[in-house]
Symmetry: C2
Subunit: 192 residues, 2 copies
């Protein structure tokens, strides 16, 4: 019987441990990416379905004009919808990628992984900025600002504002999920 040197045993043990850590990481990665998809899709749907038409009193006949509020009224919401669409699409692709790695019980190449997580970092920056912009407009719409004379609009367009508020909230969740994904990767890779 051939004897196995202690160095080889140590290497095998190390490899087996690394494999367990990696498969755990891939599982968490898939779950977080599915969450990312769900939150970004919810946010996108809430944003694009935020249309509300209200009758505003006018001083001449017929004494009422129908004025619709849509998400396209404000550039921040258009930007947000574009970013959320990209996030949604991107999360589908990366979920498939991670899921295939999970099913095959193999890891995707470290080059591809670093590439995916670099794009994650860029996307986090863009998504967070879109969330910030939408959140600020939503806040201005809710509270107004007397210093610069911008009046609030949520006292008239209540359903519209609820949609926007929910969209901003889920968009914040999306950004958080994306952050957790990157932190998970950083911690896992650092332990190697």
């Amino acid at each position: 019987m051939a004897s196995i040197s202690p160095a080889v045993v140590l290497e095998l043990e190390k490899n087996s441990e690394a494999s367990t850590t990696t498969s755990k990481f891939v599982l968490h990665d898939v779950i977080l990416r599915v969450f990312l998809f769900a939150t970004s899709l919810t946010s996108l749907v809430a944003l694009v379905t935020s249309k509300q038409t209200e009758t505003i009193p006018v001083p001449f006949p017929p004494y009422g004009a129908s004025v619709a509020a849509e998400f396209t009224d404000l550039p921040a919401f258009i930007y947000s919808s574009a970013v959320l669409s990209v996030t949604c699409f991107y999360s589908i692709i990366t979920t498939i990628l991670s899921f295939s790695a999970l099913v095959k019980r193999s890891t995707t190449s470290s080059k591809l992984m670093s590439c995916v997580f670099s794009v994650d970092v860029l996307l986090l920056g863009i998504l967070a900025s879109a969330t910030g912009a939408s959140g600020e407009v939503a806040y201005l719409g809710l509270k107004g600002n007397s210093n610069v004379g911008w009046h609030k609009i949520c006292n008239v367009y209540d359903s519209y504002c609820r949609h926007i508020g929910f969209s901003v909230l889920t968009s914040i969740f999306s950004s958080m999920v994306l952050s957790f994904l990157i932190i998970l990767y950083i911690i896992t890779v650092s332990r190697r």
Copy 2:
């Protein structure tokens, strides 16, 4: 003379290569962190020095009222100034940490590194959201929005708006530097 086994030579070569990569990474890390400090400080100074007083015509004597525009007039700018202060302070601490690693020609522990870069990720999300919020308010101030009846203010407060615009621009640079820092770390650690 004791002979050295090929496995040990391979291990030593691998270690030397890894050491070169790491010292290169630490150098880039220090440079980027100094950049982060410079951009966030510039942005913060531009933001807090944005006060401008203008005489607005009023229909009663003395027919002119002095109205000051400050960064504290809008919640987005207060949020932004808080986040930029934190970024500035954080970049000083992490620059010292990285610089000491560069001088000692040793790497900081991988646990500490993963911790620092995890905080970087969180800070990126917060800084990008603050930049998005400030940028959106600056855009509204510059262009106004006829759909919701928010008038522009930059036709009156021109110097104020230039300060805010410059602050937003440098804040975008800060976010980009922070993204590059994280991407650099991800690529370096993945190559190990």
